[in-house]
């Protein structure tokens, strides 16, 4: 289950040449999902896997508090798929990290990443870490005893993969094809987003009823904030006393304020990777808000975060042609 030979030797050379101090990748676990792992020595490299089942949240380990407290891990190599390189671009454009601190191993021809929850929902009987491959529009799960299941790709992959526009890495220092060039077929990218469209179709009272039922369940554990590679403020204002934007109590008003402020701080930066929703212990549909805002800024301002490593922040600039609320109101 270890890395292909070519990639394995390349990563070891990176250590050997002193180009990097550590390599960030995914390793299999006992269950049908992967876990982020920071390899500090060449030997640990062989524990990595490229299985579509093992696609944990890697990039948070670049900007998290631990990363800031452990500068020795840089320069760091990361095995990054297309969507992850888009997030890297956004981090570079915000000077969260310098480009020279990260050696990007671009994983090209990415067929998608399997959502462990969706997989275990469809195959409750699954045990251990099976061998899983994505061939075209199908996911094939195999065990020693042979093929266990063949399921539809769009049913199993992460939400971000269903809408993915970046099957190829945007930036890379080294490129490795996950699927051979010969049998690479561009996966189908789905435009409709039933979750968001359902809410858009509602009238305000229904919408609030839906979100009220969700936000009441929030326990303010900050998992969503801590899982987001873009939330790396020293002293987050959602926790600050003076001035106090959000009070400590866990109730609907404060929870709503908390989520609204968090989303407003991510508008124009978030790449809708969905890690906040994945990390939420009470399964709040946070991804809906993120994808709604990503669609909005694209539709209104033609902005897609993470495409230009030196891009300006959406809310720091303006364009005279902005079609906005005021323009419509004034008509």
């Amino acid at each position: 289950m270890s890395l292909p030979q070519v990639l394995d030797r390349h990563l070891r050379d990176l250590f050997g040449s002193g180009r990097v101090n550590s390599v960030l990748g995914a390793i299999p676990t006992r269950g049908p999902l992967g876990m982020a792992q920071l390899a500090r020595t060449p030997e640990e490299v062989e524990r990595f896997t490229l299985s579509p089942l093992a696609c944990p949240n890697l990039l948070v380990h670049l900007t998290s508090k631990e990363a800031r407290l452990d500068p020795t891990r840089f320069p760091l190599a990361v095995l990054a798929r297309g969507c992850e390189t888009r997030m890297l671009n956004q981090i570079f454009s915000e000077h969260g990290l310098r480009r020279d601190q990260v050696y990007v191993v671009g994983l090209a021809h990415c067929p998608g990443a399997i959502d462990p929850r969706r997989l275990s929902a469809q195959l409750p009987v699954l045990r251990g870490f099976p061998e899983a491959t994505i061939e075209g529009e199908e996911v094939v799960i195999r065990e020693e005893s042979g093929e266990l299941a063949r399921l539809a790709r769009t049913e199993l992959v992460l939400e971000r993969c269903r809408h993915c526009q970046n099957h190829e890495p945007l930036i890379d220092d080294y490129r490795f094809d996950l699927v051979e060039e010969a049998d690479w077929i561009e996966p189908v990218s789905v435009d409709e987003d039933p979750g968001v469209e359902a809410i858009d179709a509602m009238i305000p009272i229904e919408r609030w009823a839906y979100w009220r039922s969700q936000l009441e369940r929030c326990i303010r554990c900050h998992a969503c904030r801590d899982a987001c590679p873009l939330c790396y403020c020293e002293n987050c204002i959602l926790e600050r006393h003076t001035p106090c934007w959000v009070k400590r109590s866990v109730n609907l008003p404060e929870n709503t304020a908390y989520q609204l402020l968090r989303v407003m701080h991510l508008v124009g930066r978030c790449t809708a990777c969905g890690e906040c929703e994945r990390a939420c212990p009470v399964d709040l549909p946070l991804g809906l808000m993120m994808r709604k805002m990503e669609n909005l800024v694209r539709e209104y301002y033609g902005h897609r975060s993470g495409l230009d490593p030196s891009g300006e922040h959406l809310l720091s600039i303006f364009d005279p042609r902005d079609t906005t609320a005021t323009a419509r109101l004034e008509q």
């Binding site: 609907l252 304020a257 989303v263 808000m289 902005d322 906005t324």
Partner: protein, 147 residues
């Protein structure tokens, strides 16, 4: 206590308005010197520029009991600080859509351009906003204190 409990009387919407010092605030003053009249539901906070308005202020206003919020600045191209109003436009538009997505009627947050010479327009802005918010009823979504 002087502050009557609003709910007993007929519902009078509470509107918080962030006015930019050079244009909207001066427009409001002009409405005063012209002795126009408009409903007293609006409470004004003076800022140097509409670009200073943080989306968090709007959320705080709703939390603290406001039923509607107005952000008024200079007309595009006339901002005293060149483009503060253009920045406010993007911030307020994105906030309006986020609030709308979770069920806050977009008419509760209103962005408008009022120049220092438009006293009458300011008075009309207040009247229409108060009427629209009155039609929407009190803000019940997530006030800190029950309305």
């Amino acid at each position: 206590m002087l502050i009557g409990d609003r709910k007993q009387q007929s519902y009078e919407p509470r509107i918080v308005a962030f006015l930019c010092n050079w244009c909207a605030y001066a427009g409001a003053d002009l409405a005063g010197t012209q002795r126009l009249s408009y409903p007293p539901n609006v409470r004004v906070i003076r800022l140097m520029c509409s670009g200073r308005v943080d989306p968090g202020f709007i959320i705080e206003a709703f939390l603290e009991g406001a039923d509607g919020v107005i952000v008024a600045g200079c007309h595009p191209g006339e901002c005293h600080y060149e483009h503060g109003n253009r920045l406010a436009e993007r911030r307020m538009t994105t906030l309006q859509h986020l609030l709308g997505f979770i069920g806050i009627e977009q008419a509760r947050v209103r962005l408008a351009w009022v120049s220092a010479a438009e006293g009458r327009k300011f008075a009309q802005l207040i009247e229409t906003t108060v009427e629209e918010v009155r039609a929407l009823g009190p803000f019940q979504q997530f006030p800190r204190r029950a309305p």
